[in-house]
């Protein structure tokens, strides 16, 4: 495996006077990750980020940048390899946009042509008109300034970029467009970004990895879906908020979490009368057909039986195989579509070897929708959205 771009090993930071900034931090960041560090104020998220470019030095433990202990790298040289964007933008007010963008290249003594070309290229990347290069920061709007702040951090082709609440001071619309921009740049240029924020929506939106900090400790670390599905403790749950969690349950739960695990099944060699008996007993109109080892083969339903039972002796004669199956880790929200669009009342759930695990019925879907809306006792906006989304096709179906 490729070497991680950044690794924290037992990192601890104690301030003068004994206040612990962060403690027991073990974290590996791979190249191309978008890592959001999130926590309340005083949780140590900024401290942790600032240790990467040695704006703070760790008290103990080590931080490896491309496998090399950063304590062995000269801080000035280290910082020139790492992009840096802060909340208050921090553009040099006495320098033109051009001089601001090419600041690190200038420190690295690039040639004029190279700097000029880089500045032009970066302006195109973020759709800033080139005539901005001769302007001063005060002549630009806040959003434009932070755009410059972002490309300035990329100007010397840094692979790793640190961002400390970069969009905190912007209005929501500008913030959103900058989030899109950063997310796009990160993917396109394959940068690794460490992004400190206290806005959980921002973190969930941008991150490939979320690191949740509380009181100087990492409480949970994982992909946003993972964290939403399995919050590590009450702190994380509170932090995420019930609204997001229930939304995520609907959005991110997989079919094996909601399926019924006792589908009515029958094996191939059974006779038709036996099948009808079973249907009557269990009050169903369809039986799922499996082989002796529980592998899904198809289904047999009452329609087929009524029209063909005279010609058939065993279930295998009337087997229909045109029913799609669901893999157990399929997302429920995708299932809903599949089921409603194709008019199935139920779909069997199988594992990757086609072994039957359970069944998802329309009734199960009703439960999911119900949980989203009323499950946690609050019929909030998001849940209402979901209602409109999932029940509408069902209503159409009933009308047929």
């Amino acid at each position: 495996m490729e070497e991680p771009i950044l690794a924290f090993k037992d990192v601890k930071k104690v301030y003068h006077g004994g206040t612990v900034g962060v403690e027991d931090v073990n974290l590996t960041i791979n190249k191309g990750e978008f890592v959001c560090m999130i926590g309340t104020s005083g949780s140590g998220k900024t401290t942790l980020m600032r240790m990467v470019n040695r704006m703070h030095d760790a008290t103990s433990g080590e931080i490896l940048f491309n496998g090399k202990n950063i304590k062995k790298i000269d801080p000035v040289a280290l910082r020139r390899q790492i992009g840096y964007v802060i909340q208050n933008i921090g553009l040099m007010p006495h320098m033109t946009i051009y001089d601001n963008i090419t600041l690190v290249p200038r420190l690295l003594k690039w040639s004029d042509e190279k700097k000029r070309a880089q500045a032009k290229k970066l302006c195109q990347e973020v759709e800033l008109p080139e005539e901005f290069l001769t302007r001063y920061p005060s002549q630009l709007s806040g959003g434009q300034q932070q755009r410059v702040g972002v490309i300035r951090a990329l100007a010397a082709n840094q692979d790793l970029i640190l961002m400390d609440e970069p969009f905190g001071a912007l209005d929501p619309i500008t913030r959103e467009s900058l989030q899109d921009l950063v997310s796009d740049l990160q993917k396109r240029l394959n940068k690794t970004i460490i992004f400190v924020t206290h806005d959980i929506d921002e973190a969930l939106r941008l991150a490939t990895q979320v690191v949740i900090l509380d009181n100087g400790h990492i409480v949970q670390h994982g992909a946003p879906e993972e964290i939403l599905q399995h919050p590590a403790n009450d702190f994380v749950r509170n932090f995420l908020g019930e609204e997001r969690l229930s939304q995520a349950r609907a959005e991110l739960s997989t079919v094996d979490q909601i399926m019924l695990t006792d589908p009515v099944t029958i094996t191939m060699e059974r006779s038709i009368p036996e099948a009808i008996k079973l249907m009557r007993q269990r009050r169903v109109d369809t039986l799922l057909v499996v082989d002796g080892h529980g592998f899904f083969k198809g289904y047999v339903d009452i329609d087929t039986i009524t029209s063909h039972y005279k010609r058939a002796t065993s279930v295998s004669d009337l087997l229909s195989t045109d029913m799609p199956t669901l893999q157990k880790d399929t997302l429920v929200r995708k299932t809903v579509r599949k089921m409603l669009n194709r008019d199935f009342k139920y779909l069997p759930v199988v594992d990757d070897k086609q072994k039957l695990l359970g069944i998802v019925t329309r009734t199960t879907m009703v439960d999911v929708v119900y949980d989203t809306i009323w499950g946690e006792g609050t019929a909030d906006e998001t849940a209402a959205d979901q209602e409109g989304e999932t029940t509408a096709p069902a209503a159409v179906h009933e009308g047929k």
Binding site: N53, G90, P93, S138
Partner: protein, 217 residues
């Protein structure tokens, strides 16, 4: 002579002793400039230093404040005991009075540079010196210049008193006037150029201050 009006007398004096007045004018100016330059050479680095090491600032500015409270005539007399008569005593006096405005303005100027700007400068990989020369000084130079301007105007006034310890300058002409009977015109011949010098110095440095203010601010 006595039948002439004050202004006529003044004019008469100036036309007959023009070169003498001019000589004293330049001497006066140079004494002030030397003192202030010396103070700038010491005061600006000192101001930068105490802006970095804030613990030193209270003591340093405290001392400079105390110096400022000493009346200039008393200061001259005290220094005269140590340095004797002559121009050096005056230059040292000017130096001491200029320290406070220069140190204080440098300190304020450096402190007023936006923290975020310094943070990014450091975070992007500037050395301490690059931070100082590429960021902090350009952003505080106009405040520092305001201190120098202030110091120079005060210095021009103080140098006039320096004539008492034999340093020469326009103060010499003023003292000559006070010693003469009906010396009003002579006093004017010393006082008006002094005032003029102060005004011109103020205007010139004000202009320089604006010129040094970086673009985009």
């Amino acid at each position: 002579m006595s039948e002439m009006g004050l202004w006529q007398q003044f004019w008469y004096y100036m036309t007959h002793n023009g070169s003498y007045v001019l000589e004293q004018f330049s001497r006066h100016f140079l004494i002030a400039i030397y003192g202030v330059l010396l103070a700038a050479v010491v005061g600006i680095p000192l101001g930068i230093l105490i802006a970095r090491y804030k613990k030193l600032s209270a003591t340093t500015i405290g001392i400079a404040n105390v110096i400022q409270t000493i009346p200039s005539l008393a200061m001259l007399s005290i220094l005269m005991l140590a340095l004797g008569l002559g121009v050096n005593t005056v230059i040292v006096t000017v130096f001491l009075y200029s320290i406070l405005p220069i140190v204080k303005n440098t300190y304020t100027g450096m402190n007023n540079v936006n923290r975020a700007v310094i943070d990014t400068a450091q975070g992007m990989g500037m050395t301490r010196m690059q931070q100082l020369f590429l960021v902090e000084l350009p952003l505080s130079v106009s405040v520092i210049m305001a201190g120098v301007r202030n110091a120079l105007v005060v210095a021009i006034g103080n140098v006039a008193i320096g004539a008492f310890v034999g340093a020469g300058g326009l103060g010499d002409i003023i003292i000559r006037g006070t010693n003469a009977t009906d010396g009003g015109a002579i006093i004017l011949a010393g006082a008006l150029p002094t005032a003029l010098m102060a005004i011109i110095a103020d205007l010139l440095l004000g202009w320089a201050e604006r010129k040094l203010q970086p673009h985009g601010m």
